[in-house]
């Protein structure tokens, strides 16, 4: 990593994206491919990996759900506050689909939004299946619609759209939609299910994974998933790669490096 990948940016805009979830826009020249991530340092708090949801005209956008101390501090930033970025790092999504379908769970829609906007700028549009526990947790729906994508909504409690999970809705939609490639991001249990469904109809695709990260540059091993490093070899993996990774959907390492069953 060369030192140019480090940059300090100011928050210029904060928008509510869902319940306890904000899109944060920073003045930045960073050019991130869809699926890549940044290490963002909230001074005095922590430095965490975040995928990029918006990247255009000198602005970088992250869509952040409050899940812990660092994400809470991030969402409490005010306009003008400074953060430091390292990155972008990692392997992003392949842009080879003619007819892509996106399957998102919760804030997993964030990296898929940058993917959708990149495809739209190439003149390719597709379908987005977006799920959440409840309607107030559906994230970035309007932005996918603004890009001209067909959006299908699933909520666990049926408060909006299809009642059930995004993977349940995918299974239904596979019968009626014409698709050649699937992209997915969300809770790992959902990814596991989505991949099972896609492979049952020989639909190729990629999934973006999440692991605890420290260095972000492929040396500390914190984000190890079998022989792969999520920061260096991922975070985006081909379905056929994931099939060879026995820890996928089953186990994660904690901050001390202990392998623990996924909950």
């Amino acid at each position: 990593m060369s030192p140019e990948t480090v940059s300090v940016s100011r928050l210029i805009q904060k928008k509510n994206a869902a319940k306890d979830c904000f899109s944060l826009f920073f003045e930045s020249q960073i050019q991130s491919s869809p699926g890549q991530f940044l290490m963002i340092w909230i001074p005095g708090v922590d430095e965490i990996p975040m995928s990029v949801s918006h990247c255009r005209n000198g602005t970088i956008g992250l869509t952040v759900k409050v899940l812990g101390e660092a994400t809470e501090a991030l969402c409490n930033l005010e306009e003008g506050d400074r953060v430091r970025f390292r990155g972008p790092f990692g392997q992003g999504f392949k842009l080879e689909a003619k007819r892509p379908v996106l399957v998102a769970g919760g804030v997993g829609s964030a990296p898929l939004l940058l993917l959708a906007s990149t495809y739209s700028s190439m003149g390719v549009k597709g379908d987005a299946i977006i799920g959440a526990k409840s309607k107030d947790e559906l994230t970035l729906i309007q932005e996918f619609e603004n890009l001209g994508w067909n959006v299908y909504i699933a909520t666990d409690d049926g408060s909006n759209g299809f009642k059930g999970t995004a993977s349940d809705l995918l299974e239904k939609k596979l019968k009626v939609l014409t698709l050649d490639f699937l992209y997915t991001c969300g809770p790992e249990k959902m990814l596991f299910e989505v991949i099972r469904i896609a492979e049952s109809v020989n639909l190729p695709g990629q999934a973006a994974l999440e692991r605890l990260m420290k260095c972000g540059i492929g040396i500390c091993g914190s984000c190890a998933i079998n022989q792969k490093l999520v920061c260096r070899d991922g975070p985006v993996f081909d379905f056929k790669e994931l099939r060879k990774i026995s820890e996928f959907g089953k186990a994660k390492r904690d901050a001390a490096g202990r392998l623990r069953p996924s909950v």
């Binding site: 990593m1 340092w41 420290k214 260095c215």
Partner: protein, 310 residues
């Protein structure tokens, strides 16, 4: 150098009861927390691999940021995160079923703790144990207990009396006299010393107005510390009879040659695994052999320590 021109230069090593295919060893702290990652380094061509430093209890390590890249190096303050010696058995059990040469790195705050850990590593099948007497960024460990000869002597003696596998002492450069530390380790029964660990360092972000690492200071590695490492190996070679494993900014075959000419028998690779990828282990072998071919060296021993005055 009879016959040096014929055939491939020999870069294998018979070293402390270990047969190493080449002198390049994965340094501790790099990809060393899991069996799968250690194996990936071994398969990529490392002669041996050193585990992450393992302690008696699980430790989360310091809060992020823990890493900062400088133009010619890297600073880290990971803070010795590790799963603890009991949990680490899982990883060692996997490695045991392979042909990987594994050196177990351990850290503790007291001699007895080091001995307990070293015995566990021996039980787990480690070919040698490396004592971390030199981490510069964890309170109560590493440099804090490894920077006086008396303390080094106590720890090494305790461990050497407890295990039959070779004991390696990894020394700190954050001292005015590394030779006294090396001599203490040798007298206490170390079979080799490893020099150097990272150099205590700090950077500040002028816009954020804070040190760039959450721990404020960390350890500098990479090209920036190579001249310090070579100087330390040179000084140690002057006074020690046991082998020296050189580490600090080795990224190319020529870097390795410098360390060997200063007196190193084997070499450890850390930061270069990030800059050149895990394939660095095959690049280093090719580059070292190429130099030896061109300069008519048949064996590593023909280069070792040659810059010292007779």
């Amino acid at each position: 150098m009879p016959n040096a021109k014929q055939g491939e230069p020999d870069i294998g090593l018979d070293f402390l009861d270990m047969k190493l295919n080449n002198p390049f060893i994965l340094a501790s702290g790099i990809l060393g927390e899991t069996a799968d990652l250690l194996l990936s380094a071994f398969k990529a061509g490392a002669g041996a691999v050193v585990t992450k430093s393992i302690g008696l209890e699980p430790r989360d390590g310091h809060r992020n940021p823990t890493i900062y890249s400088t133009p010619d190096g890297m600073m880290n303050a990971m803070g010795l995160p590790n799963p603890g010696i009991e949990d680490f058995k899982r990883e060692m059990d996997v490695l045991r079923k392979t042909d990987a040469v594994v050196i177990g790195s351990v850290f503790a705050s007291k001699p007895n703790g080091f001995s307990i850990l070293a015995k566990k590593m021996q039980d787990y099948g480690a070919a040698a144990v490396e004592l971390n007497l030199s981490c510069p960024h964890a309170r109560g460990y590493g440099t804090e207990i490894g920077s006086t000869p008396a303390s080094v002597r106590r720890i090494v003696k305790s461990v050497a009396g407890s295990v039959s596998i070779p004991v390696l002492a990894k020394l700190t450069p954050n001292t005015s006299d590394i030779c006294s530390l090396g001599l203490a380790a040798q007298e206490a029964g170390a079979k080799a010393v490893v020099a150097i660990n990272t150099v205590k360092a700090m950077r500040i972000d002028p816009l954020i107005k804070r040190p760039v690492l959450a721990n404020r200071y960390g350890g500098l590695s990479g090209s920036a510390v190579k001249p310090i490492g070579i100087r330390c190996v040179y000084e140690l070679f002057e006074v020690l009879t046991i082998p020296i494993i050189g580490v600090g900014g080795i990224a190319t075959g020529l870097d390795a040659v410098e360390y060997i000419m200063a007196g190193a028998t084997a070499l450890q690779i850390g930061t270069a695994v990030q800059t050149r990828g895990v394939k660095v282990f095959s690049y280093l072998q090719d580059e070292l052999k190429e130099f030896m071919r061109k300069e008519n060296y048949g064996h590593l021993s023909e280069m070792r320590g040659i810059v010292h005055e007779p």
